[in-house]
Amino acid sequence: MCATCGCETTDEIKLLVPGEQEAKTPDHVHNHHDHDHNQAQTHDNGHHNHTHTHDPHAHSHTVTLDLERDVLQKNNLLAERNRGFFEARNILALNLVSSPGSGKTTLLEKTIHNLAGDMDFYIIEGDQQTMNDANRIASAGAPVVQVNTGKGCHLDSDMIYRAIKKLNPKEEAVLFIENVGNLVCPSLFDLGESQRVVIMSVTEGEDKPLKYPTMFETSNVCIINKTDLLPYVQFDIEKAVSYLKQVNPVMEIIQVSATTEHGLEAWYAWLKQKKGIEHIG
């Protein structure tokens, strides 16, 4: 069973670099979800609203444990481990989140191309299926690992942990993690990133921040992409900015068109500032 969504499927999570043949036994990153159910099977009669009826010789008793355990503890612990690795190597790790089709991959292609001399880039691509994005990134000239989540709707820290091992980013690099296109699920899963970057495009509604507040609340910077299309679409950019400020007053906002490269200087300046290469005045 797929442990991410529970479906009975042969789709497993795969980590591949462009050109690599799919292994017969692909990496499956959800082994920690496999369960041993012997516990339940040792019980004789299956119902639990009693203490003494299932076995005349039993001396059972109930006990309530105050666990106070965070449900996402496992993900968060592994995320912190990833974060420690990034900090030790002085790697700037960015988690890129958005709806599908907002232009994340185009933004990355341009960034890799235009800043090639300034920074070393490594990319983890998250998609349910295909190597398409990884192939695009490889053509742009950066090392990339594609994580295919199968039916899964988000990347988790365990997938990143495995992808980093495969990618082995060097010191002082910039690691882009392009999450699965989805404005809901990835917001809950810390990957160990230094900054979370949310991308929205002007072909979407300007009220996205109000509709999906969790993603915008947990992000550090918002890129509004495809601004070259503003004359042709019904997108009120002032409203969009005010909605963004409403859900997250401390968020930075950068308006760009990745296709025409208009406004990308501001994005590059932000990257350089975060990387500590230069400071914005």
């Binding site: 529970g6 159910h37 039993a58 006990v63 666990l67 709707c153 988790d156 609340e217």
Partner: protein
């Protein structure tokens, strides 16, 4: 539908505790904040499929919903919050912090433990 992975993480925690105590889970108590990012309806919807054949298959599930609450760092006012960042209704300051509402945890678990004699019987049988 991240609620399914959330539900599976809950099963995992329960499984761990049940194994540790060699016990059966009678009840699991969850605390879920309204601003945690988990849809309660979605969680309830996937619950049955997630706990199937697990230690939680027969267990009672009790969810306590935690309402959002924020506190103003300027005037100290505490107020109900509907979002992560909010303005203080008393002094209009933006210097506020969410104090409750993001919880997503297993608060408690009730186990039916078995004594050594009982264990012995089970093994012999």
């Amino acid at each position: 539908m991240h609620e399914f992975s959330i539900a599976l993480s809950i099963v995992e925690i329960a499984d761990e505790e049940a194994k540790k105590a060699n016990a059966i889970v009678e009840k699991i108590e969850l605390e879920i904040g309204e601003l945690s990012g988990v849809e309660l309806d979605a969680l309830n919807f996937v619950w049955e499929a997630a706990v199937k054949n697990s230690v939680l298959a027969e267990a009672e599930k009790n969810i306590r919903i935690i309402k959002g609450e924020a506190s103003c760092l300027d005037c100290g006012h505490q107020y109900p919050a509907l979002q992560f960042f909010s303005q203080c209704p008393a002094c209009s300051s933006m210097m506020t912090t969410l104090t409750r509402g993001r919880e997503l945890k297993v608060k408690a678990i009730t186990l039916l433990t078995r004594t050594k004699e009982n264990l012995k019987l089970t093994t012999e049988n």
